[in-house]
């Protein structure tokens, strides 16, 4: 599984950081930062799906293998 964050779309709702802090951090302005370089380890895949399913701006995409 790969996860993609569109920083242009992110408005800092902070849902991804709250639901999947292993995959997303936030910067000083509250904007999301992706912590993995795309590949999501098996144990975090459910969290990646959850982050994508809760982003109000549709800024996170999960690409299943």
């Amino acid at each position: 599984m790969r996860v993609h964050l569109d920083s242009e779309k992110c408005q800092g709702h902070n849902r991804c950081y709250a639901l999947a802090p292993e995959l997303f951090d936030v910067d000083d302005y509250g904007q999301a930062v992706l912590l993995v370089d795309g590949d999501v380890p098996a144990e975090l895949q459910e969290k990646a799906r959850l982050a994508a399913a809760n982003c109000p701006e549709f800024a996170i995409k999960v690409l299943e293998d």
């Binding site: 709702h13 000083d28 109000p56």
Partner: protein, 441 residues
Amino acid sequence: MTDTASRPERPGYVPPVFGDSPEGTHVWQRVPYDPADYGPVSDFTTDFDHADPAYNPVAPEVWKSLRDGGCPVAHSDRYGGMWVPITHDTVHEIAYDTEHFTSRAVVVSVGRPGDLALPAPIGGAPPITSDPPFHGVARRLLLPAFAPKVIEPWEPKVRELCVSLLDRMGDVTPGETVVDAAVQYAQHIPVSVIRQMLGFPEQDEELFRKFVHDTLERIAEEPGTREGMDDLGEYIFDQIQDHRENPRDDLTSYLMGVEIEGVEMNDDIVGGMIILLLIAGIDTTWSAIGSSLWHLAQHPEDHQRLLDDPEVMAFAVEEFLRAYAPVTMARLVAKDHDFHGCPMKQDDWVLLPFPAANRDPLKFEDADSFVVDRQENRHAAFGLGIHRCIGSNLARLELRVAVEEFVKRFPRYELAGDVRWSVGQIRGPRELPVRILDVAG
């Protein structure tokens, strides 16, 4: 005009415009609308009025009936002309379109600011009343003060406040004692928190609630007659002066010290931002807390789930926000625009009912049902696009802690009388009598 002598001379450098607005932008125009000519709403499709006292108590039913009737955008001649998109797609599209829709005014009233032909670099309460490009400049000044990691440390203070409000309710006899969860609890929480953040005196909390009422509920009164608005401006100015004389570590001092391109913001801009923080965070959050407690009073199964499984709270908070989103924003049409067949004219109002978008069955499964652990929840309670609520992290913290402490203290309670709902763009219970059925030992 601002003194430009101290600004750096650089090729191609255009100093940001703040402090001085183009002539005419602060002129308040009366719109051709007299509420007395209209009376109560008979048909929300063609005569929508969110400030009809009958609207907020049943708003979700109004949206459903509009949707079922095949009306994605309602209209009204009130307020000089107003459009009301109610689907997620239409709300989303307008929130993203800053070319055709200006944020110069975000609360519908019988007055609207300024000549829309002129740019809106600042507005009265930046950045909520700003359009690009100034919006981005003003927003970046405020964002660090409300970033998740700055807000998280406030949790113990918020919890302490909630516990002390519950303690203040005095002795509780299960099955008999009735408390008002809005008046005695919800309304105090955001007021106290933002007052502490801004570093304003504790005894002024009652005053803030009056300011909020003047700004958001008395929208049908003549512009210039809402004396509370002048009082608010003077009050903020006095507080800025006090901080200048007695500097301290708080949000007000932070804003006074912020510089853009080496230039400090003037008192008008600092004051405008403080007005925004004071007004925007108070009855919005108190409405969200009140609506959540109102829901739990009628759904003991959801209440029990929160007690049995505290991990559900993270999802429940988002579901409260989705199902009972308190905030509807507004825009003005910046230039004539055909919006999916709706002939929108410059200066028309457009309501942005994010709460209606949150119940769109095309975007949410079982949209009108409350699902306490809803897993997929892209709700728009804090808005969409560049004006996403800057205080959302603080609001979430206050909502979560307020609900946690209330349900823990009172493991069972029920409605105990008539609920009085707010009037206008912020939706939530203003009086919420509940009978306590069980109290934590």
